[in-house]
């Protein structure tokens, strides 16, 4: 039989080799296309099957895991009895369920514990953490951290951070400068959350940028993590060579109203990067740095449009009243619509007798276009414009 098959194949090959090249190519590609289509169909069905198996398994296991957490943690009789959490023991029989040994099940337990821990703080939160440690799930997370796959490392970092498990600097700090932006961001977030003494240490060694999305994540972590030591961010504004770190620190300075940082921020007005300078001016405005107002007005004429707009906004926020005439002139004589809008807003923001007088004067004695701009800025319904 094998000989017959071999002969048949040989004959087929002989016939095939007699065909023109483009027909040979077409036949090969027909075979490839048919096989690829069949594989694609198989994959679609297999993925759906796998997904439904997982859902079924999840549906079966979830109640068991939920019961475990409820019995061992939420309804633990030692809670509220002034017994330190570290001394509370779990029912080892419940923990040694055979099903809990499978990696996929252990992952479901970790995910469930994280979900619970996001909702429970205090003693319950600590007991959830202890359960994570006692079930040796912490080792699962650390083994993920040691893999080469960056996405698995990120998963590990998220798990360890949520469970508040310290990671050594030697392991974590190098990751904060990873070339992979996602891993870099996850490790930086983990560092801030886990390092109790010097959460911003990586700012000193960061050579890679903090991307805008990462800044947002980090901002949330910094502003919501309890017991975090907030340093004076001006030190990085003055000395960091990493522009994204300086940019982020400017936002933190404004958020924490660190007025002692004002001199460092004023120094930044010398920078050649106009976007960066605009950010420094914005920060001075948010800090209501009256001390910087004179300097801002002095440099105004030599600035590009975005910095001029930020200066006008800053003067409006500072509202010292010393530069209302400057604002009025900018409004009346500037050819830029954006400058006029921001000058008008800055004058209105002063909300002083003098500013109100200027506004009345504009409304009574200037052209219709100027009046519309002022009315636009005064209208409380136009919130965002």
């Amino acid at each position: 039989m094998w000989n017959d098959l071999a002969n048949l194949l040989f004959l087929a090959y002989e016939q095939f080799s007699l065909l023109p090249l483009f027909i040979e190519i077409a036949l090969v590609l027909i075979f490839v296309a048919v096989m690829a289509t069949l594989i694609a169909y198989g994959s679609i069905l297999f993925r759906r099957y796998n997904s439904s198996v997982y859902q079924r398994r999840l549906a079966h296991l979830s109640p068991i895991i939920e019961d475990l957490i409820t019995e061992q943690v939420l309804l633990n009789e030692n809670l509220g009895k002034d017994i330190p959490v570290e001394e509370i023991e779990f029912d080892q029989h419940a923990l040694s369920n055979k099903a809990f040994r499978k990696p996929a099940v252990r992952q479901i337990i970790i995910d469930t514990l994280i979900r619970y821990r996001k909702n429970f703080r205090g003693e319950v939160g600590e007991l959830l953490r202890k359960l994570y440690i006692d079930m040796n799930l912490v080792e699962d997370s650390f083994s993920k951290l040691r893999t080469f796959k960056w996405e698995t490392k990120i998963k590990a970092l998220v798990e360890l951070t949520n469970m508040d498990i310290p990671i050594s600097d030697s392991m974590l700090l190098p990751l904060t400068n990873s070339q992979n932006p996602s891993l870099r961001a996850a490790s930086r977030n983990a560092y801030i959350q886990l390092s109790k003494n010097e959460p911003f240490k990586f700012f000193d060694i960061a050579t890679e940028p903090i991307l805008p999305w990462d800044q947002m994540e980090m901002f949330k972590i910094i502003t919501t993590t309890k017991d975090i030591t907030i340093p004076n961010f001006s030190r990085w504004v003055s000395y960091s060579n990493n522009k994204s770190i300086v940019s982020f620190c400017l936002r933190l300075i404004a958020h924490y109203d660190q007025r002692t940082a004002i001199p460092s921020v004023i120094d930044l007005l010398q920078t050649k990067d106009h976007q960066f300078r605009a950010q420094a001016i914005n920060c001075l405005g948010q800090l209501s740095a009256e001390i910087a107002e004179e300097k801002l007005v002095t440099i105004y004429t030599s600035q590009p449009l975005n910095c001029q707009i930020e200066i006008l906004k800053a003067i409006g926020k500072i509202s010292s009243g010393k530069h209302l005439e400057f604002l009025k002139n900018e409004f009346l004589y500037s050819s830029s619509f954006d400058i006029q809008m921001n000058a008008a807003r800055a004058i209105i923001r002063h909300n002083s007798q003098q500013s109100r007088y200027i506004i009345t004067d504009i409304l009574e004695n200037t052209n219709e276009e100027n009046q519309t701009i002022v009315k636009h800025c005064q209208n409380p319904l136009i919130k965002y414009q």
């Binding site: 296309a33 998963k155 805008p212 800044q215 994204s244 050649k272």
Partner: protein, 509 residues
């Protein structure tokens, strides 16, 4: 060389032309199929990268963040009186902390504006309108007196006979740095703004390199100028109050083909282009743009029939002309559901407009084609669209004529001809099936495997039923472009979304 000369000198002119045509078409077809194969591989890489990168992202952080950039949602409306209230309500419920909804009443002749004024308690405001982009005159601008609708701005303008004109008016009023353009009748995912703004925030902010001391400064980073996402048909989905409750492939055959085509174009096509930073366009139904660059590039061209691709082309050209690096990003997940034409008449009008728009675009921006100065756009995007999108229907048409000629003159080698047809057929089925597999990898939108496989099976009949239609209407569009026939915007009768049938008319090309 001698062999070739001998070969050509033996036959008549028509024989030589015929043989040349056969080989040219074979090479053309093979290169097109190779291009699709490459796109399929690139799109998988792109999708996997997106999925891995965003697997652990907590999108909710942006909802509370003071650092979230503001976004203006721009939605032109023309005679949408029947559905306008629910459409606007839907737009006002995005999960995002800082956005405004700018609705442009583009000279509606029905009660669209009246309904908006009554429902949202609108009053006319003294608005300092500055025309940065050309549009037909703006008559009035309204804001709501009800704080619940403080995000809403309504512009009432003279009809500009195009979405582009209305969108330009919206951009002029937009107060934020990014704007999202959509059609008011599209159903958008509540997380659309979050998902589309993220690619803008995943790029490094200005990294400035100093050159020549302290005066000249060169920006040295890749700026994301636009983002887009996959669109799907809403036709048979279950919708309640602007929310998609259940995704289903359309039951009617025409929208069902369109669903399959959209998945192939977005999940396989756009994601493949995304991998090599060559996304040719962002759909008019859903796209987010960097306002600064869009304005500098001149905004939408109200005379263009492919205004979405035209805008991206001009934004890209602007960046290149100013020696700035840029990218256009795509996300593989579906964020927008739109109603596909269900009648051949409306469908044909739409596709003829697309065909005409492509021809118009290639003609308008011909300086970009093969121009190395425009980098990928000049050497990849435009040549691809020129050869494989613009010329494809023409070559196919000539090919069919040639086939008929060979059959009539009994010159055809039937076994070989059948092998070649089977080759093209199996390859096209493979590409579509792969696109649907990639879509499944991204997210399982369809609840049952029957719905998924049912859609996959459409690939087997597409070459016989749907493809000839696309081909015919594209040629019709080219013909209209060549003879300069005036384009007329038609009406599309909306079917409603699994709700009591309502009648409304909107622009459809």
């Amino acid at each position: 060389m001698k062999v070739i000369i001998d070969f050509f000198s033996r036959g008549t002119f028509w024989d030589v032309l015929g043989i040349f045509f056969q080989y040219a078409v074979f090479l053309y077809g093979t290169s097109l199929l190779i291009a699709y194969g490459i796109l399929a591989i690139l799109s998988l890489a792109s999708i996997r990268r997106y999925m891995k990168k965003n697997a652990n992202v907590d999108y909710n952080i942006i909802i509370e963040s003071p650092l979230a950039p503001g976004i203006s949602v721009i939605a032109p409306a023309f005679n949408e009186g029947v559905t306008i209230i629910s459409n606007v309500r839907s737009l006002l419920t995005f999960n995002y902390p800082k956005y405004e909804v700018i609705l442009i009443n583009d000279g509606s002749t029905d009660d669209t504006l009246e309904k908006l004024v009554n429902e949202f308690e609108l009053v006319q405001v003294d608005f300092a309108y500055r025309e940065k982009l050309l549009s037909k005159p703006v008559k009035r601008i309204f804001k709501s007196t009800n704080p619940a609708y403080d995000k809403l701005v309504v512009i009432d303008k003279v009809n500009g006979k195009s979405k582009a004109d209305a969108s330009n008016a919206g951009i002029n009023v937009a107060s934020y740095d990014y704007f999202l353009c959509t059609d008011v009748d599209c159903i958008l995912d509540k997380d659309t703004l979050i998902k589309l703004i993220k690619p803008f925030m995943d790029e490094e902010t200005s990294t400035v390199r100093e050159i020549n001391g302290d005066v000249q400064i060169q920006e040295d980073y890749k700026r994301v100028i636009a983002t887009g996402a996959t669109l799907r048909m809403v036709n048979s989905c279950e919708v309640d109050d602007g929310l998609i409750l259940r995704v289903r492939p359309p039951r009617r055959i025409l929208p069902r083909f369109q669903e399959m085509e959209y998945i192939r174009a977005f999940v396989l096509g756009k994601m493949g282009w995304d991998r090599i930073n060559s996304v040719p366009n962002v759909s008019g139904g859903l796209g987010m743009f960097d306002k600064d660059i869009a304005i500098k590039a001149g905004g939408y061209d109200s005379l263009s029939l492919a205004e979405d691709m035209d805008l991206i082309t001009r934004m890209g050209a602007f960046m290149t002309d100013n020696n700035k690096k840029y990218s256009v990003k795509y996300v593989p997940i579906t964020l927008c559901w739109t109603e596909g034409p269900t009648t051949l008449k409306v469908f044909g009008r739409q596709r003829a407009r697309w065909g005409r728009g492509l021809a118009q675009l290639m003609s308008t921006h011909r300086k970009i084609l093969f121009n190395p100065r425009y980098g990928r756009m000049g050497l990849i995007v435009f040549p691809y669209h020129f050869f494989y999108e613009l010329l494809a229907p023409i070559i196919e048409f000539l090919g069919i004529l040639f086939y008929i000629y060979l059959i009539i003159t009994r010159q055809i080698n039937w076994p070989y001809a059948i092998i070649l047809i089977v080759f093209v057929y199996t390859y096209s089925v493979m590409i579509t099936t792969i696109a649907l597999l990639w879509d499944q990898i991204t997210f399982k939108y369809y609840k049952t495997w029957g719905e998924t496989i049912g859609l996959c099976l459409m690939a087997f009949i597409e070459p016989f039923l749907y493809h000839p239609l696309i081909w015919f209407f594209a040629l019709k569009g080219y013909f209209n472009f060549i003879i300069g026939k005036k384009h007329v915007w038609g009406n599309m009768q909306r079917q409603g979304f699994n709700a009591p049938k309502k009648r409304s008319t909107v622009k459809a090309g």
